[in-house]
């Protein structure tokens, strides 16, 4: 089971990392969401145990590890907040640059820097 989860985490993390390298900002956001889910899954897997739900354990029964579940819930919430924040940033970028492509953004930046350089020379 541990090996299997490790494999799944690796695949999700890898896909996320691949998307992070794309110039399209939406893909980058999806990449971060995937990476955050890989981390969440790793957290869940770090305390894999069989047993009754800790909130209502049967008499004398083994209880599964509640701590990882608490941590995972927290991590999910954080991942969600992060995704929303990133999407808001992408939207701001879209409204001010009318593009979500990193290549076009950096071209605009290069133009801006060339302008600055010209101004400095004039001064």
């Amino acid at each position: 089971m541990t090996v299997l989860t490790a494999g799944v985490v690796a695949v999700i993390f890898g896909s996320g990392a691949y998307l992070l390298l794309k110039p399209d900002l939406f893909r980058v956001v999806v990449g971060i969401v995937l990476v955050s889910n890989a981390a969440t899954l790793a957290l869940m897997a770090s305390g894999l145990s069989r047993g009754d739900p800790p909130i209502a354990p049967g008499a004398g029964a083994e209880v599964s590890d509640p701590l990882v579940q608490a941590m995972t819930l927290t991590a999910i919430v954080i991942g969600f907040g992060v995704a929303v924040l990133l999407l808001a940033l992408v939207y701001r970028i879209y409204t001010s640059h009318s593009t979500v492509d990193l290549d076009e953004l950096s071209q605009a930046e290069a133009r801006h820097e060339a302008e600055l350089e010209r101004e400095q020379v004039e001064v």
Partner: protein
Amino acid sequence: MVYAPLALPWLLAAGLAALDGRRRSVGWVAAGTLTVHLAALAWLGLDVFLDGPRETVTGGWPAGIGIVLRADALGVAFAFVSSLVLLLALVYELQSGGSSRTFPALVLFLAAGLTGLFLTGDVFSFFVFFELSMMASYVLSAHGGEARQLGAAFIFAVVNLLGSFVFLISVAAIYHVTGTLEMAAVAERMTLVEPASAIAIAVSVFVAFGVKLGLFPFHFWLPPIYAGARPAVAAILSGAVANIGAYGLLRFGAGLLPLELELTAGALAVLGAASIVYGSAQALSRRATAEVLAYSSIGQAGYILVALAVGGRVGYAAAVVYAVANSLNKVLLFLAAGARGPLVGGAFALGALSVVGLPPSGGFVAKVELFLAGLEAGSAVLVALIVVGSLLSFVYMFQIYQHDYWRARPAEPASRTSVRLLVFAVALLVLAAGVWPEPLLLLGERCADVLLAEGGG
């Protein structure tokens, strides 16, 4: 007692978030809160200094179940310096009239996150506070900037989030191999973990904090964000948020994973040296003040890593003293670079002297500590590196000083007197750290003792 400095900015931040931060009253309530928060931290610090670390288990749970808050010299020192930086930057921004709707609340959230992070004794809540403060800084980094700044802010957020999730995975790994999240217990059980897993954990923790601190191979997000941000935001990012990296490396490296730190010291020293050389060389080739300061931060982070690599009491003390002095330098320089008029030039020059490590500045004390660490390690290369790094920083700092203050320029209106006085006050603080270095040195030693006790020798 440990709760007060943590809860105060947190509650007020949640309240102020609903109000319009452009109103002066809201800004000043935030500044007042931070002042009380600083006083509470100072009180806590005094108590820790006299009676040793204080520990509280939250929610009244028995030890081992609840989340532990632990105030020791190292944590309180970093919390105090970071909050001081936040207060200075907030007052600066209020005085220069650049506050936005969310600015005061974000600064308070950042204060709460940073304080929690420095005072927690639990690995997972460290991550939670870490994310709380990083989220506030992602939003802050886009504050007041031009459209161009948004792209830099996005890259900053994405790179740091990747770092955060790598850290979360290492938290999962720590829990898996030790079965506990409490730092003290982790430090104890980590010695029994098989070396292969421990090294893998140590490396991912190092990557996570290297990204935060802006160390050489992980630095690429840093210059655009520092160069484009408003002076107060740049001061917050380099003076307060970057402390997460320094503290994390000290707490996790020296405190929780001392064996792995010792094992990889050579590699860390090389990375630190690369950071110093790269940061200085890049800073030399830039002319915009904010950009030079940004690359200089990469170099300064290298010194902290080198001190950490030397290790032992002297090395850890040097790392702490250097991190504190570096925070103050960066605040002074970024704020001074954003202001104009009399007093500002002198303040900038003092900050430049402090970065170089010349007396009578706080930076001099830090460089001496670093020098001692180099001698302790008995490495001629290290000592030479510190000297060369300082010389390079002398050249690039005074190159921009000359460029900014000695050249006839189109007349710019002077900043408000209150802004200039604030910058001057920060300069006096840096000066005081250099003229009366005992408190800083004592602090460094106390922190080193904390780490050595935690790391078990």
